[in-house]
Amino acid sequence: MKFVVKHVGQSGRLGCLSGVDKRLGEIFETPLLTMYTRGGSVPHITHEVLQMITKENLLLQMPLTTLMSAYSSIESFGKGLSEFVGLKEYPCYVTPQDPATETPTGYNVSNKVAVWTRNGKRTVDPVKYMNMIEEMRPDMYLALCDGDTDSGSSKKRITKSVQRTLNLFRECYRHHQESKVLINAALLAPIEGGYDLHARRVFSEEMAQYDVAGYVLDGLHTNGAEAEKIKFDTIEPVIKECLKCLPKEKLRVAHGAWNPCTLIKLVAAGFDMFDTSLPYLSTERGKALVFPYDQNMITPNTGPNSVKNTDHYEISLEDSIYAEDFKPVLQNCACLTCKQHTRAYIHHLLKSQELLGRVLIMIHNLHHYLEFFKSIRRAILNDSLDSLCFLVQTQDHDS
C-alpha cells in the first residue's frame, strides 16, 4: 500500500492511499474515514445494507479485541480476514485495541499486551501477534503497542509505555521485514509518550528512522467515549511535538471517537486517517448525528444551550419529544433512513428494544460521517477548514 500527499493546504492536506492488495488500482482519498467493525462486521450493518449506504470502497478497521475469539476459525480458513468475515471486496486494517471501547488500564506486562476479548483478557506478545497478522493477511496493520496512557498518566507509566512499545515495535518490525506474506501489507508504527512532550519527541525521532507506511498517534486516551471529551487545545502541544519529528510524506492516523470539532482540528494539523467510532458510539446511545457540515444544512435544535456547545452534535431519538415527530432524522439528508423513515418510528423502535432502531440510526450516522469527510476534503482544497469548524459548532434553531 502506498500513500502520497497530493495537496497541502493552508491547513490540512489531501492525499491518496493506493495499491491495496485486494483491489488493484483502488484509491482511497485522504483524509480518510475507515469503517470501524466489530467481529468483522460494521456494527448493525450487514453487507446487503452496507451496499445501500454507499457503493464506495471502504477500508475496514478491525480491532483484534473483537476478532481474537474467532482466531482458530480465521486460521484454519486460511484466506485472510476480509474473506472470512464475508467482505472480501473490502481491504482491512487491523489494530490491537478497539478505539470505540474503553480499554481497561493497568494490565500490560513487560513484553505482553492485554487484549480484552468478549471471553476476557488475553495476553499477546509480538511473536503471537505477528503470527496472527500473517494468518489474517490485512492490507494494513498497526504494530503491537502499549498505549495505556492518557492525560492523567504518571511519568512512570509513560516511561513504561514508551520502553515497552519500543521493544514490541522492534520485534514486529523485524518480523514484518522477514515476512513473505506481508510484503504488500502496510505496517503502521505507534507513537507513544502520553502527554509528556519530551517523551513524545524522543519516541517520534526514534520511529522516524524506520521504514513504515505511517504513524498512529497513540496513547492520548484509552479508547471509548472518553475520547469525545478531548478538546484540541489539550492535545495540540503533543501533536505539534510529534509531527515536527516525523517525516511529512508518511500517513498520519488518529484513532478514537473524537468530537467533530477536535477531528477537524486534527485534520488541520495534518492527520490523514480516522475511524467511525463516534458514529458507532452515538448509535449505541440512541443518538443521531445532526451537526451541519455544509452551509445549506438546516439542523435541528439539539437541546438547551445548544449554541456553540460542542457536546451537542446529536439528538437523542429516545427522547419522548420525538414520539409524534413524523419528520426525518435530519431534513434534506439523502440517507436511506431519512428518505424513508421518521423520528417517531425510530423512537418507537428504540423504546421497544427493536434491532431496527439502531440499524436505522447507524445508516444515518455513517452516511452523515462519510458526507462530513467529503466536506472536509473540499474544505482543504478551498482552504476553508476554519469556517467548516465554525459551522460544525453552530446550531441553527429549527426543529
Partner: protein, 395 residues
C-alpha cells in the same frame, strides 16, 4: 377511471393438485397481490428482526403480520392514526395483516377474563381495569389499517374440553357479527372470521357453517397450534377445509414448522404465520430442509460452507457457518443474517410448494421433502395419516 373500486380482497385459484386438496392462488389485496399458499413473517411491533423494508421486499415477501395488542400499547393508536396507519408508520408498501389482540391478551396477561362483552384485563401500565370488546378491537385495527384484520374471538386453550368450548364457539360467532357491524373500512380492509370449536368435530363444523353463512371474503382456522396432539390438529384442519368454500382463502393461524406447512398445504390451507423462524434466528438457529442447525455449536467453528448451499439468499451468498458461529449472539448483524436466511427458507419452501402444485407434481414434492426431513423414513404417524387422508402415500 370510473366504476366500482375492486373489493378489499379477491381470490383466484390458479391451479389445483389432482391428488390432494392443495391449491395455488393469488389473493389481491389493496397493497399487494399475494401468491398462496403463503407464509407470513411476524413483525410484532412494526418491524422484523432488524430488517429493512427493502430487504423484506428483496426476499419477495408480499405480506407481513403486526400484533394489535403490542402496537396498541406501543406506539399506541393515537400515534398510528397520526402517522396515517401502520403501512406509513413503518414504511412498508406491501400487504399487512393484524390479529385481534385477544389472543395476546389472554396469553400475556394473567388476569384477563372473558365475558360476553369482551376480554376484561388489568392494564399492565397502571393496573386500571380495561375491556377489549369486538367493537374496540375492530376500531383499533381500522386505525392500524392493515389489508387483513382478524375478528376478536373467544380463545380457549386448544386442549380445553367440555361446555366452555361450546360457549366459546358460539360466542365467537356473536363476536364476529359485532366485529362486522363495527367495521368502518370494508372497502379497503377485510375481516377474517375464525373457525373455533376446539378439538370437537361437531363444534368445528357448526362454527364453520355459521361463519360461512356470513359470506365473508376469507376464513381462518383458529384455536389450534396450542399444544394439542398433532393427530387432533390435522383432523381439525382437514375437517375445516372440507367445509370452507373453495373459492375463498383459508388461513391456519400459528403454523410455521416446515413439515406442518407441507401437510397443511396438502389439506388445502392457503395462509400461515408463525414467530418461530425469526424468533429462533436470534438464538442462532438456521432452518434447512433437513431440520435446523444451531450456529452456536462448536461443530461449525471450521465449517466454511454457507448455511444452505441450495439457498440464494444474501446471507448464504456471502457468509459462512464458521463466520456466523463467530458472531452469533454477540453481534446483532448475526441475528439479521440468520433472519434473512430463515425468512428466505420459509418463502422458498412455499415457492417450491406452489411450483409443484402448478406442475401437478405436488405429491412427488411432498414425498421427497419428507424423505429429506426424515431420512430413515421414520415418518411421524400423524404426517403419514394426514397425507394419506388426501391420497398422498409416503413410502
Amino acid at each position: 377511471m370510473s366504476g366500482k373500486a375492486p373489493p378489499a380482497l379477491s381470490y383466484r385459484v390458479l391451479g389445483t393438485c389432482s391428488t390432494s386438496k392443495a391449491r395455488v392462488g393469488v389473493m389481491s389485496l389493496p397493497h399487494h397481490d399475494v401468491d398462496t399458499p403463503v407464509f407470513m413473517p411476524v413483525g410484532t411491533k412494526g418491524t422484523i428482526k432488524g430488517l429493512l423494508p427493502q430487504q423484506l421486499e428483496a426476499l419477495n415477501c408480499q405480506i407481513i403480520l403486526g400484533n394489535t395488542y403490542h402496537l396498541g400499547t406501543k406506539p399506541g393508536i393515537d400515534i398510528l392514526k397520526k402517522a396515517g396507519g401502520l403501512h406509513k408508520f413503518m414504511s412498508w408498501p406491501r400487504a399487512l395483516l393484524t390479529d385481534s389482540g385477544g389472543f395476546q391478551m389472554v396469553s400475556l396477561l394473567e388476569l384477563a377474563e372473558i365475558t360476553e362483552e369482551g376480554v376484561k384485563f388489568k392494564s399492565p401500565y397502571d393496573g386500571s381495569e380495561c375491556m377489549l370488546t369486538p367493537e374496540h378491537s375492530t376500531e383499533i385495527q381500522n386505525a392500524i389499517g392493515a389489508d387483513i384484520m382478524m375478528q376478536l374471538d373467544d380463545v380457549v386453550h386448544s386442549t380445553t374440553t367440555g361446555p366452555r368450548v361450546e360457549e366459546a364457539m358460539h360466542r365467537t360467532t356473536r363476536w364476529l357479527d359485532r366485529c362486522l357491524k363495527a367495521h368502518s373500512r370494508d372497502h379497503d380492509q377485510t375481516i377474517f372470521p375464525i373457525v373455533q370449536g376446539g378439538l370437537n368435530p361437531s363444534l368445528r363444523e357448526q362454527s364453520a357453517l355459521q361463519h360461512i353463512e356470513r359470506d365473508t371474503r376469507a376464513y381462518a382456522i383458529g384455536g389450534l397450534s396450542g399444544g394439542e396432539s398433532k393427530d387432533d390438529f390435522w383432523r381439525m384442519v382437514h375437517l375445516s377445509t372440507d367445509l370452507l368454500p373453495k373459492d375463498k382463502p383459508r388461513y391456519c393461524m400459528g403454523v410455521g414448522f416446515a413439515e406442518d406447512l407441507v401437510v397443511c398445504c396438502a389439506l388445502g390451507v392457503d395462509m400461515y404465520d408463525c414467530v418461530f423462524p425469526t424468533r429462533t434466528a436470534r438464538f442462532g438457529c438456521a432452518l434447512l430442509d433437513e431440520g435446523q442447525i444451531n450456529l452456536r455449536c462448536v461443530a461449525f467453528e471450521k465449517d466454511f460452507r454457507p448455511i444452505d448451499s441450495e439457498c440464494s439468499c444474501t446471507t448464504c451468498e456471502r457468509y459462512t457457518r464458521a463466520y456466523l458461529h463467530s458472531i452469533v449472539t454477540n453481534e446483532t448483524v448475526a441475528c439479521q443474517l440468520v433472519s434473512v436466511h430463515n425468512i428466505a427458507f420459509q418463502l422458498r419452501l412455499m415457492q417450491r410448494i406452489r411450483a409443484s402444485i402448478m406442475e401437478d407434481t405436488f405429491p412427488t414434492f411432498v414425498r421427497s421433502f419428507m424423505k429429506c426431513r426424515f431420512p430413515d423414513s421414520s415418518y411421524p404417524k400423524w404426517i403419514v395419516e394426514a397425507l394419506s387422508a388426501v391420497s398422498i402415500v409416503l413410502e
